[in-house]
């Protein structure tokens, strides 16, 4: 039977772990709320962007913009993989990385080269060990997700796509469904598919008035499409951020619960050991007294 002092020490260490996990849970919950606000704040921009794109692409040939053009060649595929900077968030990062890895494996035969643009330290750590030669760009997510960082990444791939160095770009990230569920998803970023206006929404008569487009639809499309690509990357980063905190919150809640159970069973063990010690002491005294009679 374990020594009383050993058990006591273990209880102490589990208790301090519990303090850490419950503090981390609290921090993650606060950050999650902020991350959700950020998603909410980005929504009006994305919604307006979408409606304007619909408006513009109604009247124009879609092949007029280099980012909309589908490349017939299959030379280079690029994956943008978004993960968090830190772990301790359950299977959050590993499920995204697993999806990314499977996409690379599946599509590698189709293309001459498959490149990786990695956002978040965890993606870097993972792929540096496995596919270091394929990494084109690798950066941690700096602090709170900024539009500038998303735009930089988007501009970089857009420039290479327009120059013909890339033939397809796929975005892999965790979609934030709810606090309990984050699903890894992959979407095709380039060639960019402009949103199609659904026919049902066309009824509103006064909205049907067409916009005058200055100087011409092509020029507007040239300004719009890169922005729409940027906002896609930005959205992926925001979803990833919210998902990270949600996953960490859930993971830490489970960890706190586990420490509670552990403390309970250790306390039981401690009490048993203490009682056993008392009993054996009593037996010793009694036998000692009997021997004297």
């Amino acid at each position: 039977m374990a020594n009383l002092r050993d058990i006591k020490r273990r209880i102490g260490s589990v208790k301090s772990t519990q303090k850490i996990t419950s503090a981390m849970k609290m921090v993650a919950a606060a950050k999650l709320r902020r991350a959700q606000d950020a998603i909410e704040n980005a929504r009006p921009y994305a919604v307006r962007m979408r409606s304007t794109l619909e408006e513009v692409s109604k009247g124009t040939l879609e092949e007029t913009h280099p980012l909309l053009a589908v490349h017939q060649e299959r030379k280079a595929l690029e994956l943008i993989v978004v993960t968090s900077n830190r772990g301790l968030a359950g299977a959050f990062n590993s499920s995204v990385l697993k999806l990314a890895e499977s996409i690379v494996a599946k599509r590698e035969p189709e293309f001459d080269t498959v490149g990786l643009t990695l956002l978040g330290k965890k993606a870097g750590d993972y792929f540096r060990r496995r596919r270091a030669h394929q990494i084109k760009h690798d950066s941690p997510i700096d602090g709170n997700v900024s539009y500038e960082q998303a735009a930089d990444v988007a501009r970089d791939v857009a420039r290479r796509y327009a120059a013909g160095d890339l033939d397809e770009v796929v975005l892999v990230f965790s979609e934030f469904k709810s606090t309990m569920t984050q699903t890894p998803v992959s979407t095709q970023l380039l060639p960019f598919a402009p949103p199609k206006s659904s026919a049902d929404e066309e009824d509103s008569a006064d909205e049907a008035l067409p916009f005058e487009i200055e100087p011409d639809p092509e020029a507007l499309l040239a300004a719009l499409v890169p922005k729409a690509v940027e906002i896609e990357v930005f959205r992926a980063m925001l979803e990833n951020q919210a998902g990270e905190h949600a996953a960490r919150m859930t993971a830490m809640e489970a960890a706190t619960k586990n420490t509670e159970e552990l403390i309970e069973s250790l306390t039981l063990q401690y009490n048993r050991a203490r009682q056993a010690a008392i009993t054996s002491e009593l037996v010793e005294i009694v036998t000692g007294a009997q021997a004297l009679e």
Partner: protein, 135 residues
Amino acid sequence: MALELVVVTPSGEALCEEVEQVVLPGEAGDFGVLESHERFLTPLGLGPMQIIGTGGSRWAALSSGFAEVDGTRVVVLVDSCALASDIDQDASESRRVAAGSELAALPDVEENAGERARLAAVVAKAELDIDVAGR
């Protein structure tokens, strides 16, 4: 006075107010919008926006995006919008200097094109901020 100006950026709605007139930095040149302007859509470049209300005019620095105008409403979608009063001139100046020297140090060769374009954009944005803050 029935022109509603709405400025939306990826980090949220930056402005939403009633104005008399707004002057926007269109890609083909600055243009003013008054009430009952024709419905139109146009791309915007990096530049200053002048907001003219009853109490005088204010300035803001816009980076590229586009504007959707109809008779009663101007919706401006841009990457960022900073009111002159909110701009930290010293921070902009140091950004300008830092990016400028980095740009000067980067050799002008093909593989640096992306990075150079990014730095040049940072410099241009910082210069605009300083310009607008001084108005």
